[in-house]
């Protein structure tokens, strides 16, 4: 089954990205195909230039781990530009997408889970 998880809120300030990562991990373990769609402020999650304090989690690294295990990471391109982020610094495996890819995921995936904002 293909499961999409869409996040909107910024990482670190709120829990959505963490919940999505944990559900993605469980879905991958069960053999599902997983896509994560990062919309609005959640696009900050792929910025590998983040410097969290030592005892904190590194969210771009957690996403890289999911990508290494086959998860697709979609970044809303316009949202990325609105925050002035650099695709060169994005988590390896994350790809600039947009509304066309969101539409394809909504049309073709089996489940589309949104974290409301």
């Amino acid at each position: 089954m293909h499961i999409v998880l869409q996040v909107i809120n910024p990482p670190y300030s709120y829990e959505d990205m963490d919940s999505a990562i944990k559900i993605a991990d469980a879905a991958l373990k069960k053999g599902h195909k997983v896509s994560i769609f990062l919309f609005a402020d959640s696009v900050l999650s792929v910025n590998t230039k983040v410097k969290p304090i030592r005892i904190d989690r590194n969210i771009p690294n957690l996403l890289k781990d999911l990508a290494d295990r086959g998860a697709e990471i979609h970044i809303c391109g316009l949202c990325f530009e609105y925050r002035g982020l650099d695709i060169e610094a994005a988590t390896p495996g994350a790809e600039l997408s947009g509304v066309p890819e969101m539409a394809t995921l909504l049309a073709t995936a089996d489940r589309y889970v949104n974290f409301a904002v």
């Binding site: 609005a40 947009g98 066309p100 073709t108 949104n114």
Partner: protein
């Protein structure tokens, strides 16, 4: 054909979600999707002719009208939420082509869609 409802409950002035939802909806027609928009709670003030985020320098809502007409996008709004915010039927800009529904019909409407995304 997948049925997808983009539902907004937050204010169209002071949050970006009504603008973002319409940007998404207009991209759905490239796929085998039947999209719709639901405006509820503060989001319903988008329908008022006098609502102008651009007065604050924010993105306008009126850029959506030509696409709503081109795609015949279905826009629902909850009547009780309009009443509570003192918006009468004659205040509503006809270019939204909005269908007013009663709040008691929301559970049925939400269950008609394969995916409901809340903003």
């Amino acid at each position: 054909m997948k049925k997808v409802l983009f539902a907004v409950y937050q204010s169209p002035v002071g949050s970006i979600w009504v603008n973002e939802v319409f940007r998404c909806v207009f991209g759905m027609y490239a796929e085998d999707i039947e999209p719709a928009v639901l405006l509820v709670r503060d989001a319903v003030i988008a329908l008022n002719k006098e609502t102008k985020p651009e007065h604050l320098g924010l993105l306008p809502l009126s850029t959506t009208f030509k696409y709503i007409e081109r795609y015949e996008t279905k826009v629902y709004a909850v009547k009780e939420c309009l009443d509570w915010r003192k918006i009468n039927e004659e205040d509503i800009d006809p270019r939204w082509h909005a269908e007013l529904i009663s709040e008691k019909d929301l559970p049925k409407l939400l269950h008609e869609y394969d995916t409901v995304l809340w903003f």
